[in-house]
Amino acid sequence: MARTRGLVFALLLLSAVPTGALAQSITVQGGNPIIRLTGGSPIVEPMVLSSTTCMLRWKRLKDTAKITVSTVCPGQRFTLKVFAIAIGDGVAAPEVTLTDGMLAVDFITDIVRDKNRDYNCTLRYTASATYAQGNSGELGGDDVHTVRYTLLEQ
């Protein structure tokens, strides 16, 4: 009997470890944007274009959390930055320069618990390239980033 109680208690303890993890969520909405730099004045460099077609949505059920961002982009040639605007909850970190293989850095901090609703923000991606950097055709292809957003305890 003591053995059974011990087993049950140990199993309860283990089941308590990922408490609520499956109920927290973070999703990227708006698809996979393509930012095409089609030109500008030769007097002003670099060529710059922003996209705000995507949103980040999350739900936080426990203590204060934060969202980090990272990217993988093999053979990256051009510059891409991301910034959170119109945040429903939390504080936006400064604009992040996305670099291939970077460590995750803070994107939104001080997200408080609210089990009753989802929060979201708009993702403002800004791509830029100088004329000297060349074009996708000569360089073997576009820059394709896999950008990952992670919700974790702060």
Partner: protein, 192 residues
């Protein structure tokens, strides 16, 4: 104080052995199923405390696409050159006037390019010559007589931004009389 584990010969006991001041303390530790479960639970809990827990993650792809881009800009849009008495010398048939007030600016993000110039006037009354001066990038071609066929103005301007001064020289002969040529000069980026 060093601590090491010893397994007894039949595998049913693990002794945790500690040495302290040359004396040896041993205590039996039976790894039953219950205790194994406790041990796993404690290990997992300690790992959870040591690292901030990842709650959820999501991703998408973002593509940056840069096609071939060519941008040219002329800083003075309309230029009037007049051969006047200032430009003439008695007894000399050829009269010239030069203007260097126009700047050409470019941005080209592909390799192996040149800039050419041509005019809309197929049979001009007077001769118009053109050469690029002081280019910040590239190599100026020799002075050209502008005609309807694109002629080299600047070479080796690929993957760059830059500027140059456009030096126009109008040449009229006194024997040709008076008249006006209205040129539309077109600058084109071509493969070198």
């Amino acid at each position: 104080m060093p601590l090491h584990l010893e397994t007894c010969s039949d595998g049913t006991y693990i002794n945790a052995v500690r040495a302290f001041n040359d004396s040896l303390f041993t205590f039996p530790f039976r790894m039953t199923l219950v205790r194994r479960a406790w041990l796993v639970a404690l290990i997992v809990l300690s790992a959870r405390i040591a690292v901030a827990q990842v709650l959820a993650s999501g991703s998408h792809t973002v593509t940056v696409q840069v096609p071939q881009v060519t941008a040219l800009q002329i800083m003075t849009r309309t230029l009037t050159m007049t051969v006047s008495a200032i430009n003439t010398q008695a007894g000399q048939d050829e009269m010239t006037v030069t203007d260097r007030t126009t700047q050409l600016v470019w941005g080209i993000n592909s390799s192996g390019k040149k800039i050419t110039a041509s005019t809309s006037v197929a049979t001009p009354l007077f001769k118009l010559k053109l050469v690029a001066l002081n280019p910040t990038r590239g190599t100026p071609a020799p002075e050209m007589t502008v005609n309807t066929t694109p002629s080299d103005l600047l070479l080796n301007v690929g993957r760059s931004t830059g500027s140059c001064i456009l030096s126009y020289t109008g040449i009229a002969l006194a024997s040709q009389g008076a008249g006006t040529d209205a040129h539309v000069i077109t600058f084109t980026v071509l493969n070198q």
